[in-house]
């Protein structure tokens, strides 16, 4: 296959866009893992569910519980409404899936997150039916020309918003008291409690923030993916792989891991085989685990202790 610089740039943009989504979802995994020591298997459904909520307000008509509704609200208003609603959902999720089980070890909480995942998918089917839905894009054109490149503005938006969120997160964790409290809680909950941090409150904020990361991912990706109740499943699987590649528990690792998997699988699909795109992501995972079991940015257990 001949080397085509335009095709390679095109692949890079697509890879970074999909990788950004993996990175945001991987961040959600990592933040919850750091805060409470469990993997949240509902993280992918935090991408799907708000997307359905958004299209209910956005589309000219859509069946909700079998009743046709015609809200068709402005896009930015819908984004704001969905984010507010998902804050409420995050609080509810923490109260229902985490708090009652928090003193019973990690396994019941993990099972609870699997339960929430199944519940959300079935709820989505009950409320919105099985029909795939298309979320309107904020852009009036599907592509823009950047020289010889045909780029989807939505891809650029995904990359841009992810970059902003990463910067925001850096300032949150490094420059604010709340961020420092979150980091302290992630490092040692008991010690954090001893120095006066309200750990329960910090855990709740972390859950809500993770739900919002999923929500933003969903709102960004829905216009190019179509909204289905399965849309979060594969994203979550790749994001999980990304967080392990980066070093489970490492925030920079989740970001780099997500971007790396997105870019490598896109190039792998082009240069190696489109049939084995998923396999490529998981081969990377296995290779990293063999060569560096703690992941690219993870600490060795001995170092951490």
């Amino acid at each position: 296959m001949s080397f085509d610089p335009v095709a390679n740039l095109q692949l890079l943009v697509s890879g970074l866009a999909i990788g950004s989504i993996y990175a945001l979802v991987a961040l959600g995994f990592v933040l919850i893992y750091n805060a409470v020591g469990v993997v949240n298997f509902a993280q992918g459904d935090f991408v799907m569910f708000p997307s359905y909520v958004a299209i209910s307000f956005l589309l000219p008509s859509i069946a909700v519980f079998g009743t046709i509704v015609h809200w068709q609200l402005p896009l930015l208003l819908v984004y704001a409404v969905v984010l507010v609603l998902m804050v409420g959902f995050g609080l509810l999720f923490t109260r229902v899936a985490y708090y009652p089980l928090r003193d019973r070890g990690w396994m019941p909480v993990v099972i609870a997150t699997i339960g929430v995942s199944i519940f959300l998918r079935n709820l989505a089917q009950l409320v919105w039916g099985s029909q795939p839905q298309v979320m309107p894009s904020p852009f009036s054109v599907q592509t823009i020309a950047l020289g010889p490149l045909q780029v989807r503005p939505q891809d650029l938006l995904i990359i841009g918003v992810t970059a902003l969120l990463i910067v925001f997160q850096y300032f949150l964790f490094e420059r604010t008291m709340l961020g420092k409290q979150m980091r302290a809680t992630a490092q040692d909950r008991d010690a954090a409690r001893l120095i006066g941090i309200r750990v329960g409150r910090i855990v709740t904020i972390t859950f809500v923030y993770s739900v919002l990361l999923g929500t933003i991912s969903g709102l960004l990706v829905a216009p190019i993916f179509t909204v289905t109740k399965e849309m979060g499943a594969l994203i979550a699987l790749k994001a999980f792989a990304a967080s392990i590649v980066g070093g489970f528990g490492s925030i920079p690792g989740a970001i780099i891991g997500g971007l790396a998997i997105g870019v490598i699988e896109t190039f792998g699909g082009f240069y190696i085989s489109t049939a084995y795109v998923d396999a490529i992501a998981f081969v990377i995972l296995i290779v990293v685990l063999v060569v560096r079991p703690q992941g690219l940015f993870g600490e060795r257990v001995g170092e951490k202790a």
């Binding site: 085509d4 095109q10 890879g15 795939p132 045909q150 082009f270 049939a275």
Partner: protein, 383 residues
């Protein structure tokens, strides 16, 4: 003890039941239990919903007729969820086989049919399927029938259209990695070879993929002058068509029937404009039965049916079973299979049904083109 009217009636009814009184005055006719295994949950739930509705509509209409199926015997549906994976589908089938059903309708997914075949090989029971992969009817299942056009016909129609009408010499293939996609792609390759051609690229994508940039760029780079698509899932179809337009791939696209199902067309919107598909049903060109089906489906469920892959073929399957049961005045499975093998020119929603040696019932497809949400006939092909 005082004998009230209520106690008298209760005692009389209980005694009558105990001595078989219903047999004397004429018991309610025994219902005919038919099984249905659509994918009601998972990523193909939309298909399952259409199949559920198609079976339900057929059963309701038959049960509302004088005499019902025959001798006042009504149909009763026994339904199990095939979900989205083969293991669950086989479990659902095993459960169904213990439910005393006389025939099974569904699935439509070839991958599930092929997974169920080893179980069905040992069963003598009519199995009305909708999957179009050629292999489905070559698995040695005695009761299996196909109520839709096989991919041998569809792929030949797609290839002949691409090569004959569109004069393409460099044909790219893009297909899903499931049994439907791979089976269809194999048939396209076989038919291209008949024209002395090999595909310029033959690409499959993994299940639930959402980014097709690599596939589309490879097709673009190959210089393909036509693209044959075998994609089952309407959501995948919509995303692929959107990305094809975004990446400015301009060659003609000719797809499998699923490209033109109502959901795919609605979801893809204007991105589907100009795409062709080989289908077993086009609104307006099939029989009065089809027109009646469309009207009654809409009146019953207040939505449009996905006729080909969704609700139409199951509606035909149930009606064909009812027709055979009425003719033979029996639901004996062995006799039913023999009767189905003799079916010639039975008219259903998808047109004339004639059983061939492999138990294929439908032998006609049409090429149509999508424009602004409509799908219009371009050419009719009989295999």
């Amino acid at each position: 003890m005082q004998l009230t009217r209520k106690k008298f009636l209760a005692t009389t009814a209980a005694s009558g039941a105990a001595i078989g009184f219903p047999a004397i005055i004429g018991a309610a006719p025994e219902p005919i239990r038919i099984g249905s295994i659509p994918p009601l949950t998972g990523s193909n739930a939309l298909l399952g919903e259409q199949e559920h509705d198609g079976v339900l509509l057929a059963v309701e209409q038959i049960n509302a007729r004088p005499g019902k199926v025959y001798d006042d015997r009504p149909f009763v549906i026994v339904e199990e969820d095939a979900t989205n994976d083969n293991q669950s589908a086989v479990s659902a089938l095993n459960k169904m086989l213990g439910e005393n059903v006389v025939a099974i309708v569904n699935p439509v997914l070839s991958t599930q049919i092929q997974a169920m075949a080893p179980v069905m090989k040992d069963q003598v029971i009519p199995w009305m399927t909708g999957g179009t992969a050629v292999k489905n009817m070559q698995l040695g299942v005695p009761g299996a029938f196909r109520l839709r056009a096989s991919d041998a016909i569809t792929a030949a129609a797609i290839t002949n259209f691409i090569v004959g009408e569109k004069k393409a010499k460099k044909v790219a293939i893009l297909h899903a990695s499931d049994a439907f996609g791979t089976g269809g792609a194999e048939q396209i390759v076989i038919n291209l070879k008949k024209h002395g051609l090999d595909p310029i690229v033959d690409l499959q994508y993994p299940k639930d993929a959402k980014d097709y940039t690599a596939e589309i760029l490879r097709i673009k780079q190959s210089g393909a002058d036509a693209l044959a698509m075998y994609v089952q899932n309407p959501s995948d179809t919509a995303v692929i068509l959107q990305q094809i337009r975004s990446l400015n791939l301009t060659c003609p696209i000719v797809g499998s029937p699923s490209l033109a199902n109502t959901t795919a067309i609605q979801t893809a919107g204007k991105n589907a404009n100009g795409a062709y598909a080989a289908v077993d049903f086009i609104v307006g060109m099939n029989s009065n039965i089809a027109t009646h089906f469309l009207t009654s489906f809409y009146n019953r469920f207040h939505k449009q049916p996905d006729v080909g892959s969704g609700s139409g073929w199951v509606f035909d399957a149930v009606n064909l079973l009812a027709y055979v049961y009425k003719q033979q005045r029996s639901t004996d499975p062995k006799q039913t299979i023999a009767s189905l093998e003799k079916i010639r020119n039975w008219e259903g929603v998808l047109g004339a049904h004639t059983a061939d040696a492999e138990h294929n019932m439908v032998h006609t497809v049409s090429i149509g083109q999508i424009n602004d949400g409509n799908f219009a006939l371009v050419k009719k092909v009989t295999g």
